[in-house]
C-alpha cells in the first residue's frame, strides 16, 4: 500500500507539473500570438528609416515618429509641436499683471498643435503621447481607434540620406534625417510665420515625448561646458515657491539637454539605463515638465510689450524689409538626437556637440580648367 500511495503521489505531482508546463506554454504561445498581432498591426502601419546605425519607426496613421533604435538602446519617441498662449498682462489674477514679451515668458495655457483644446502643463494634463497611446509614458503602443493623423508624412530614402518629412501645419514642419555613418538623428524644424489672426501671441515649442523614466530631473549645459542637473520645481540653494509651472522650470540651452533614466544626483546611472539627449544649434530655452519629456522653445511672437524696456512687442511684422506687409519671420534650425546606454552616452554626445558647433566650411566653384587639359 505504501508503494502504491507513493506512486500515486508522484503521479499527481507529475500531473501537476505537466499541467503547469502546459499552462506556461499556452501563455507563451498566447504572448507570441499577441506579439504577432501587434507586429502585424505595426508593420502594416509602420514606415521605417534605417541607416544601418539607427532605425526609426513612424506610425503612418498618425504620421508621428513611434520609436528609435540604435546605439545599443531603444526608446519610444514622438516629437510634436505645441504652443503657449502668451499672456497679455492685462488680467491681474491670471498673470499677476505681467505679460509675455521680449524679456518675459509668462504662458497662459499650452496647446498641442493638433488639439483644439488646451493641453496645459498643469497636473492632470495628458500628453499627446498618453492620449494617443494611453497609460503613462510608453504604455500600450496601440493607436486608439479614430486617432486621426497628426502630421502628413512623406518618406525619402537613398544611399546617403534618409528623411521623414512631417507637416504639422503649413507653418510648423519637421524633417527627421538619418545620415550614412552617423549615430545622431537630425531633426530640422521650421516654424513661422506664426499665425496671429486669432489675436493670441504664441511661443512655439518642440516636445520630445519618450518612455524614459527620468522622473523630475534632467540635465542642461552650462555655456557648452559641463552638464548641470535640474530638478523640476526645485532650487538647490533656496526654498522655491513655484508660481509658474512652465516658465519656472525653463533653463537656457546653449548646447544640449538630456534625460537620464533613474540617474542619481551625481548623474550615475543604473545598469541598463538609457540617456536621450537633444543638441541644439543655437541658444534656446528648454525644460522637462513631465517624466520622459523634453521641450525646446523654437520661436516666439507676442502681441504686447512686456513693459520691461524694449517698448515693442516681439512681433516681427515691422521687420524693416522692403515692403512692410512682411508676413512675419520664419525660423529654421536643427536639433540632433542621441539615444545611448547611459554609461556610454557622454562620448558620442560630446563629440556630436563639437561637430554641430564647428561644421565644415564649404566653398563652391567651377571645376578648374587646366592649360591644354581636354576637359
Amino acid at each position: 500500500q505504501k508503494q502504491e500511495a507513493g506512486q500515486s503521489a508522484t503521479q499527481a505531482a507529475d500531473a501537476r507539473e505537466a499541467a503547469a508546463e502546459a499552462a506556461e506554454v499556452a501563455a507563451e504561445e498566447e504572448e507570441v500570438q499577441q506579439g504577432w498581432l501587434e507586429n502585424e498591426e505595426k508593420n502594416e502601419h509602420t514606415a521605417v528609416l534605417d541607416s544601418g546605425l539607427v532605425r526609426l519607426e513612424f506610425d503612418t496613421r498618425t504620421g508621428l515618429l513611434r520609436s528609435v533604435h540604435g546605439g545599443g538602446a531603444s526608446a519610444r519617441l514622438a516629437p510634436t509641436f505645441a504652443w503657449y498662449n502668451s499672456s497679455d498682462g492685462l488680467d491681474s489674477d491670471e498673470n499677476r499683471g505681467q505679460g509675455s514679451g521680449a524679456y518675459v515668458f509668462r504662458p497662459n495655457g499650452r496647446y498641442d498643435l493638433s488639439a483644439t483644446h488646451e493641453t496645459s502643463a498643469a497636473p492632470g494634463w495628458r500628453s499627446l503621447w498618453e492620449r494617443l497611446w494611453g497609460g503613462g509614458g510608453g504604455g500600450g503602443g496601440r493607436v486608439p481607434a479614430g486617432a486621426g493623423p497628426v502630421a502628413r508624412l512623406e518618406i525619402v530614402e537613398g544611399v546617403n540620406v534618409w528623411e521623414a518629412r512631417q507637416t504639422f501645419a503649413d507653418w510648423a514642419t519637421l524633417v527627421t534625417r538619418l545620415h550614412r555613418g552617423q549615430a545622431a538623428v537630425e531633426v530640422e524644424w521650421t516654424v513661422g510665420p506664426i499665425p496671429i489672426d486669432d489675436g493670441l501671441g504664441k511661443e512655439v515649442v518642440l516636445v520630445y515625448d519618450s518612455d524614459l523614466g527620468s522622473g523630475a530631473q534632467f540635465w542642461s549645459d552650462s555655456n557648452g561646458r559641463e552638464m548641470l542637473r535640474r530638478v523640476r520645481d526645485f532650487r538647490p540653494t533656496w526654498e522655491l515657491n513655484q508660481t509658474e509651472p512652465a516658465a519656472g522650470n525653463y533653463y537656457p540651452l546653449t548646447a544640449a539637454m538630456y534625460l537620464l533614466e533613474g540617474g542619481d544626483a551625481g548623474g550615475a546611472a543604473a545598469e541598463g539605463a538609457r540617456q536621450l539627449a537633444v543638441l541644439t544649434d543655437r541658444a534656446q530655452g528648454g525644460a522637462s515638465l513631465r517624466s520622459g519629456q523634453m521641450e525646446v522653445m523654437l520661436h516666439r511672437r507676442t502681441l504686447r510689450d512686456d513693459l520691461r524696456g524694449v517698448d515693442e512687442a516681439l512681433n516681427e511684422t515691422a521687420c524693416g524689409c522692403r515692403n512692410c506687409d512682411c508676413p512675419g519671420l520664419v525660423a529654421r534650425g536643427r536639433h540632433w538626437l542621441l539615444l545611448a546606454p547611459a554609461r556610454e552616452a557622454a562620448r558620442p554626445r560630446r563629440t556630436a556637440q563639437q561637430e554641430l558647433n564647428d561644421p565644415p566650411v564649404l566653398a563652391f566653384g567651377p571645376i578648374p580648367r587646366q592649360i591644354g587639359a581636354s576637359s
Binding site: G158, V161, E188, A363
Partner: protein, 262 residues
C-alpha cells in the same frame, strides 16, 4: 585685401546681452544683422581666397599629375594642408589662414617649372570660389547657376575640428538640365551621391525669400546632391560633381534620385 576686422567688430558688438537674447528694438536688431552680414561676407572672401590658393598651389606637381585636384592630407598638397593646419592652431585664427594662403601662392610661384617637364599643368587662372549662406533653404548662387547650365562644380570643404570627420555634404543644384550626377573625391575616387528633392516647406521658404528680398542675387535650387565627405583634421579636401547625360547616365552613374513616398 579683404580681412576679418569687420566681422570681429560685429561679433564683439553682439556680446551685448541684447544681441544674444533678442531684447533690442527692431531697428537695433536690423543694425546687428547688417553689421554681421558685412563682416561675414568679408571673412568668407578671406577663407575662399586661402582655399583657392591652396587648391591651385596643390595642382602643380600634385598627385597623379595633379589634374584631378589635390590629395588632402596626402601628396604634395600635404605640406600646404599641414601648413594650413598649423596656421589654424595659431592664436590669430583667420589672420594666420590669410598668411598661409599667401605663403602657398608664393610657394606655387617657386615651384612652377618653366621647362614644363615637371608633373601637372599649372591652373592658369584663379578659381572663383564662393560661400553660400542659405544652404539650409537649398540656395546657392554658384552651384545652382553652374548646374542650370549643365556644368560641373568643385566643392572645397575645410574641417575646423582637430580630428578627422565624416560628414554628409549637401549641395543645392538645379535639375533643369540633368538629374544624373557623378561625384568624385580628392583621389578621383567615385563617391555614392544621392539626389534629394526639395521639401515643400523649403519651396515655400524660397518663394517667401524671393518676394521679400526681390533684389537678392541668390538663386534657389530645386534639389540637393548629398555625398559623404571624409575630411582630415584641421585640413581641407576637394570634391568634384559632374553632370552625366546620355549614355553615361544610362550606364547608371552613381547618383540615386532618392525614391519618395507619402
Amino acid at each position: 585685401g579683404p580681412n576679418t576686422e569687420s566681422l570681429e567688430e560685429a561679433v564683439s558688438l553682439l556680446q551685448h546681452h541684447d544681441g544674444i537674447t533678442g531684447t533690442a528694438k527692431q531697428h537695433v536688431v536690423n543694425d546687428y544683422h547688417r553689421r554681421v552680414h558685412a563682416g561675414l561676407k568679408e571673412a568668407q572672401a578671406v577663407v575662399a581666397s586661402a582655399l583657392e590658393r591652396l587648391i591651385r598651389g596643390a595642382t602643380v606637381g600634385g598627385t597623379a599629375g595633379g589634374t584631378t585636384g589635390p590629395a588632402a592630407g596626402g601628396g604634395s598638397a600635404a605640406p600646404a594642408a599641414r601648413r594650413l593646419a598649423m596656421a589654424q592652431e595659431g592664436p590669430a585664427g583667420l589672420h594666420a589662414v590669410q598668411h598661409a594662403g599667401r605663403e602657398a601662392a608664393a610657394e606655387q610661384e617657386e615651384r612652377v617649372d618653366p621647362t614644363g617637364s615637371g608633373g601637372g599643368n599649372p591652373i592658369d587662372s584663379p578659381i572663383p570660389l564662393e560661400s553660400c549662406d542659405w544652404l539650409n533653404i537649398t540656395a546657392c548662387n554658384a552651384t545652382v547657376h553652374l548646374s542650370s547650365r549643365g556644368q560641373g562644380m568643385l566643392v572645397a570643404a575645410y574641417n575646423p575640428l582637430a580630428w578627422s570627420r565624416e560628414t554628409v555634404v549637401r549641395v543645392p543644384v538645379s535639375t533643369a538640365v540633368t538629374c544624373m550626377w557623378k561625384a568624385s573625391g580628392p583621389e578621383g575616387e567615385d563617391l555614392p551621391v544621392q539626389l534629394l528633392p526639395v521639401p515643400n516647406t523649403t519651396l515655400a521658404l524660397q518663394q517667401l525669400m524671393a518676394a521679400v528680398n526681390a533684389t537678392c542675387p541668390t538663386t534657389f535650387g530645386d534639389a540637393e546632391l548629398a555625398f559623404v565627405a571624409q575630411l582630415p583634421p584641421l585640413g581641407y579636401a576637394t570634391f568634384f560633381l559632374e553632370p552625366q547625360s546620355g549614355a553615361a547616365a544610362r550606364a547608371g552613374s552613381s547618383s540615386d534620385d532618392g525614391s519618395s513616398r507619402e
